[in-house]
């Protein structure tokens, strides 16, 4: 274990007052109370794993978004905004909104009608148990590993920002999540995610408001960023405040990417894969009470997702414009985490990119507001972790335990298994956190590993839903080829860094750009293999594909409702606002 992480020192970013502690303790007490209160409503499998399928569109939609709003999402993307400028907003706009609308209007009817309990469950119905097993084992494994990595990173930030002991941070937050999810199942996770959604906004919204006042509005912010970056001789400083105009060439922007990578790699593959097939988020929408709510939920999530850059990307940009060393008055330049958290970096008082959000929090928020801001970060971590462990428990119980180990498990034994899996998921996450603490390079590999599955899984699911000729063998081998090709490309670049010019089409491509192009290629390979193998193998009959494939599934008519309750209407409204935002920040 790294000894530096165990030592408390007084040079933390912020110091909490008793008022702040009252707010944080009240938050923990409230989430545990909710878990205890909901324990009695989690007796059957449908209750525990699907929250009784009785969530309204608003609750499912806010939980859908909140499960993705982990603290690392907040701090990490604020740090990326500092590093890459407004280009980071692509991950919230083109990297989310089209996919969420596609999920709502095209894919939700199939998920809802076939009454699946999970995405691997849909694969079983459509392609058979081979694809289900491959998808469920990879998802279960990666989910708990990622949860542990998030837990570790969160604890390190809490240590750096607040001086909290890393072990106590890990134990207190993860045990709290374990208790409320194990007691109340998905219903408790969703309840708390909605609560956490409000706390995240309440604790974060002041930073951009006060920051814009200090910077002199958006124009003042742009001018300050341009001036600061020019002073520091950063190439293409104007690229930091323009979303699209610098994407014509790889070398014109700080990310080393072009519009093809953003539109096709991010918008068409990675984001579609994440928002439509990652069970962590899809599970929240599957809990909706009816088809109309299931379609409206992702649209509500999309509307709020469009606003998240206001509390995540804007603080990163404000950091570029406003942060100065309090002692010298010079511009404060943030650095990568490995530099900032090294012994030399700590001795020089360096801060990492990921610390930009806490730095801005400390800048504007005094006692009370600071406690609420820290609560927002903790709430973000806990909502993300609850999402991970509840999804893990469902996939393990239904797609691994119920499908491979005990095919005749009763409903009661599945609930018991779900509760134990929740605890097991948290325990494995804690173990992963400590593993990463001993060997930090593992973090890079596991994060990359997670990305290997998303794009091919989307290729398999979308072909399964839209193309009735896709066969079981095609689905399995397409998914397998997509995953292995992604791993192969990753290994190729690791062994020979010069290969990046083939994988990402440019030797200037940064990590994010490489991820985009690798996803694009492996998705194309998955689709191509699925098509070829399917054409060579025997398809299922139309009768077997009813409720699973577009064109063979009668979509039930929704009740006559006013236009203001129509998912299509709100989908169009969100799409129009999305386009307007792209033009404004072009």
């Amino acid at each position: 274990m790294c000894p530096a992480l165990l030592v408390l020192d007084s040079s933390t970013l912020v110091h909490l007052s008793p008022v702040d502690l009252v707010i944080i303790v009240f938050y923990f007490a409230l989430v545990l109370t909710i878990g205890l209160y909901l324990k009695e409503q989690a007796n059957t499998g449908e209750d525990f794993f699907m929250a009784g399928r009785e969530m309204t569109a608003w609750v499912a939609g806010l939980a859908f978004l909140s499960a993705n709003l982990g603290s690392l999402e907040l701090m990490g993307w604020a740090g990326n905004a500092y590093k890459y400028g407004i280009l980071a907003a692509h991950w919230y706009w083109i990297g989310a909104i089209p996919a969420m609308l596609f999920l709502a209007l095209v894919m939700m009817p199939f998920y809802h009608i076939c009454k699946t309990h999970s995405v691997p469950g849909y694969l079983k119905l459509r392609f058979g148990s081979g694809s289900q097993t491959l998808a469920s084992i990879s998802f279960a494994l990666m989910t708990v590993l990622m949860s542990g990595i998030n837990m570790y990173a969160m604890a390190v930030v809490m240590r750096v920002v607040l001086g909290w002991n890393i072990h106590i941070s890990i134990l207190v937050s993860s045990v709290t999540v374990a208790i409320y999810v194990a007691l109340g199942g998905l219903r408790s996770a969703i309840f708390n995610e909605v609560l956490q959604f409000f706390l995240i906004w309440a604790g974060s919204l002041l930073i951009p408001i006060l920051g814009l006042i200090e910077a002199g509005g958006w124009r003042g912010l742009q001018a300050k960023i341009l001036q600061n970056l020019t002073e520091q001789h950063v190439p293409n400083p104007g690229a930091y405040t323009h979303l699209w105009s610098t994407l014509g060439d790889f070398g014109n922007n700080p990310m080393g990417i072009n519009w093809v990578g953003i539109v096709f790699g991010l918008g068409a593959v990675i984001s579609m894969g994440y928002w439509t097939t990652d069970f962590l988020v899809v599970q929240r929408v599957l809990a909706a009470k009816d088809l109309s709510s299931a379609k409206l939920a992702p649209i509500i999530g999309a509307a709020f997702k469009m606003m998240v850059p206001f509390i995540v990307i804007l603080p990163g940009l404000l950091g570029l414009a406003l942060l100065r060393d309090p002692h010298t008055g010079n511009l404060l330049r943030l650095v990568p985490a490995d530099v900032a958290w090294s012994d030399a970096g700590r001795a020089q008082g360096l801060h990492s990119f990921d610390e930009v959000l806490p730095l801005m929090l400390a800048r504007y928020c005094g006692p009370g507001l600071l406690g609420l801001g820290i609560t927002a970060l903790i709430a973000g971590f806990m909502s993300g972790m609850a999402g991970n462990v509840s999804a893990f428990a469902t996939v393990w119980t239904y797609d691994i335990y119920g499908a491979l180990i005990n095919k005749h498990a009763s409903d009661g034994s599945k609930v018991r298994m779900g509760r134990w899996c929740t605890l097991l998921g948290v325990a494995v996450s804690i173990g992963t956190a400590y593993l990463v603490m001993n060997a930090q390079s593992i973090m890079d590999y596991v994060q990359a590993l997670f990305s290997f599955f998303i794009a091919p899984l989307f290729g398999t699911v979308i072909l399964g839903m839209l193309w009735k000729r896709a066969t079981a063998a095609g689905g399995f081998w397409g998914l397998f080829a997509g995953i292995t090709s992604s791993v192969g490309m990753y290994a190729w670049v690791k062994l020979d860094p010069a290969a990046v010019k083939y994988v990402a089409l440019s030797s200037q491509a940064q990590d994010q750009a490489q991820n985009m192009f690798r996803a694009l290629w492996c998705w194309l390979i998955c689709v191509a293999v699925t098509v070829v193998v399917s054409l060579l193998t025997k398809p299922k009959t139309d009768a077997e594909l009813t409720s699973l494939v577009y064109g063979l599934t009668p979509i039930p008519h929704e009740e006559k409702a006013s236009i203001f309750h129509s998912p299509v209407f709100w989908g169009v409204v969100v799409a129009i606002v999305f386009v307007i935002l792209q033009i404004i920040f072009w």
Partner: protein
């Protein structure tokens, strides 16, 4: 959405916002009387007073609108 009992998620959210808002608002009033030695940037805007006030009002609204007794009355009326 209700839990199957009489407490709505919106009630819990209201409770949380109201308590946090009250604490932050009270701290803001205290700082008005006794200014801090090391004020934050833009301290003169007294963000804790107006932000705490906004949270308090929202919280009280949600708490009353979705209070357990009103939910019980509504459920009794629809059953």
């Amino acid at each position: 959405m209700k839990s199957g009992g009489s407490l709505s998620i919106w009630f819990f959210i209201g409770l949380s916002l109201a308590v946090n808002g009250a604490v932050i608002f009270a701290r803001g009033i205290y700082e008005l009387v006794s200014p801090p030695e090391h004020p934050v940037v833009l301290y003169t805007l007294h963000a804790n007073i107006w932000w705490g006030g906004v949270l308090l009002i929202l919280g009280v609204f949600f708490s009353l609108r979705f209070a357990p007794w009103r939910e019980r009355a509504r459920m009794a009326g629809t059953s």
